[in-house]
């Protein structure tokens, strides 16, 4: 499993802690530039886990996959054209309903998705109790609760990502 470079994209609404997850995975191994021909920041990094190396792209924060803003277009084009091996959709557990609007559209694009249920601690503090396994069942994707700012659930997320990539490698993927 050495030197398999999978591409993982991080997607999500603004203010969901996407950057915190990106920083946690890549550490200082990041490169910040611009999307070609666009005036939107592109963050790319490398993440090493269990002897494998992964390329991580932090997509710009977007609320939808329509073509109303540069951020949405970049996110959509990357997912459809670059066909990342996995899209980790970071959602704010405390604002789940609004955040799912983007997540659902990414799922409709028929890519492999993991839902990172970030800020679970804040949701819990507000008395929001989420049935994670039911959510996972309905969406048909792995769902991992986490609190990235406190470093909680990051290990789970890493493991889920690795497992998911292994299962797509062995099982059927959505690629033609």
């Amino acid at each position: 499993m050495i030197n398999t470079t999978h591409t993982i994209a991080l997607a999500g609404n603004p203010n969901t802690g996407k950057s915190t997850v990106f920083n946690a995975l890549t550490g200082l191994d990041q490169h910040v530039g611009n999307w070609p021909g666009k005036t939107v920041e592109k963050k790319e990094g490398r993440w090493k886990y269990n002897g494998s190396e992964y390329r991580i792209i932090d997509l710009p924060g977007a609320y939808s996959l329509s073509s109303f803003s540069m951020e949405e277009i970049i996110t959509r084009d990357f997912i459809l054209e670059e066909k990342p091996d996995l899209v980790v959709v970071v959602v704010d557990a405390a604002n789940l309903e609004r955040n799912l609007y983007l997540a659902v559209q990414i799922l409709e694009a028929e890519v492999n998705v993991i839902l990172a249920l970030n800020m679970s601690d804040i949701a819990a503090a507000r008395g929001i109790d989420i049935d994670v396994s039911h959510l996972s069942e309905v969406l048909g994707v792995p769902v991992t609760p986490m609190a990235a700012r406190k470093g909680q659930g990051l290990d789970d997320l890493k493991q889920v990502i690795a497992d998911a990539l292994n299962s797509t490698k062995n099982g059927g993927s959505h690629h033609q």
């Binding site: 603004p14 028929e110 109790d129 049935d131 986490m146 700012r149 789970d156």
Partner: protein, 577 residues
Amino acid sequence: MTASTNTFDNTPFVIDYGPDLEDAISQLQERIEATPKLTQRYPARWLAIKLLEEDNIVSANVAGISGGAEILTIASQYIANLRSKYGEDVDTLIADRRYSWINHLVREIIRQGGADEPTTSDKIDQIVTNRWLGVPIFMLAMWAVFKLTTDVSAPYLDWITDVIGGPISNWALALLALVELENSWVASLVVEGVLAGVGGVLVFVPVLMSLFLALALLEDSGYMSRAAYVMDRLMRMVGLHGKAFVPLVVGFGCNVPAIYATRTLENRRDRILTGLLAPFMSCGARLPVYVLFATVFFPAYSSLAVFAMYLLGILVAVLIGLVLKNTLFKTSETTGMIMELPPYRLPTIRNVWSSMWQRTKGFLHGAATIILLTSIVVWALMAVPVGGEGAFADTDIDSSLFSRVSDLVTPVFKPLGFGSWEASGALISGFVAKEVVVSTLGQVYNVGGPDKVLEPTTFLEDVVSIVTSFAQATIDTFKSIPLILGIDLFGDEAQDAPSELMTAIRTGFEASSGGRGALAGLAFMVFVLLYTPCMAVVAAQRQEFGAKWMWTSVIGQFVIAWLVAFAVFQGGLILGI
């Protein structure tokens, strides 16, 4: 925490859009699946939905593929039928269905405990974004930021000055002595050009680090969004979107990222207008100039004088904004504001550090390239003798090439009270970067440098003194922290005995202003605030808005700076201040 299944469902994810929409989707999907060029590029069902949503980018792509036009025709028939049946655009129908699907899902999976109870975040917002309290709280926050940058960093600032002026200069000269260059022009270049220039920049790293720390805390805690929200009404008066406040606030750190931050605005008009106003936000690099001049001319009120510069920058930006709103930018109105207020969060060390470090690194990068170069160019100009007096690197500064070049522009600044070649020279190098204004003044007034008598010390003594003085600086910094919250506006801020540079500046400004040194010093501070911040900003403006707007900004700022400084000096003379 519980995790879910770690594998993917193999059946594709599908939302049921209801019989009418599903019929249209499946018909289109069938056509799409018969067109391999389309299925290579898009998932068929996804594409069918996008076509019904009338997504213009996707539709244009489909139109370019053979067979695509036919599919688009079919799509438009379905769109027309659905629109006449439901009386709504199909993209609205689809969005509605998606939202209700999600709403249904969320009801199933969420059990909400204390449902409508306001969160802590809401409670804080009731106060912080209050109609009357919002702006005063914002001003208090800004005040705390400036106390943090001026007071907390001060001990480190002194420490760096001492280390570079003492041990490091000593070591450089000692190394040059090994190759018998200690009395040559090389020694002059190293100590007066390189060390004076870059050292003069490093001195302000503590100031900028504490400023960037403060900005990172504001951003990471979520307060920055509130500041933008609170300032929305004010921003609209100058014809800007509330979101434009963020680049402007970033401008207080550095104008260069502020120019790039205008990218977050949706339309070009807002971006350019914000980009023209951002340079009036007083950046961290201008702060050392204010601190120096305020200490020289207004020792009792130095914090207030510095704060006044920041306020003046905002005031000028507001006025210019009003003028531009009603002239050059009259045509279009700003778009409505949608702004998210993320919940307040405790800033994490990692995010704060990363933001602070990246910005400081950017500053140091600039320091290493542009500023070192400028410092060397200025040194070289000063080293070249004019009129046969002295030799290279051994000439009086007032008979150097630099003084002649600066002299050419001096008449422009006469009416402002600082028509001396020293002040003009500092402003010339300040056009390249504000960080060098202070170091150029150090050079033109010929203070410091190798002529200074340095006590002979051993290497070990040097190292020990560097470490112990750093520890003392740290202690002093912690001692100063409680004072940040102290309302010490007019308190005792007496400085140490004036350094050589301060004495030289006072003498020089008194001479050029006919004895009204303080007034001329104030006019100089105002000029530094308002004219072009640095070459990097000019480059950024050119890149973002084009050469035309870049020149508008450069020339406009010079004229405004001159007029306001003129008003300050001449007005002061008339009022007899």
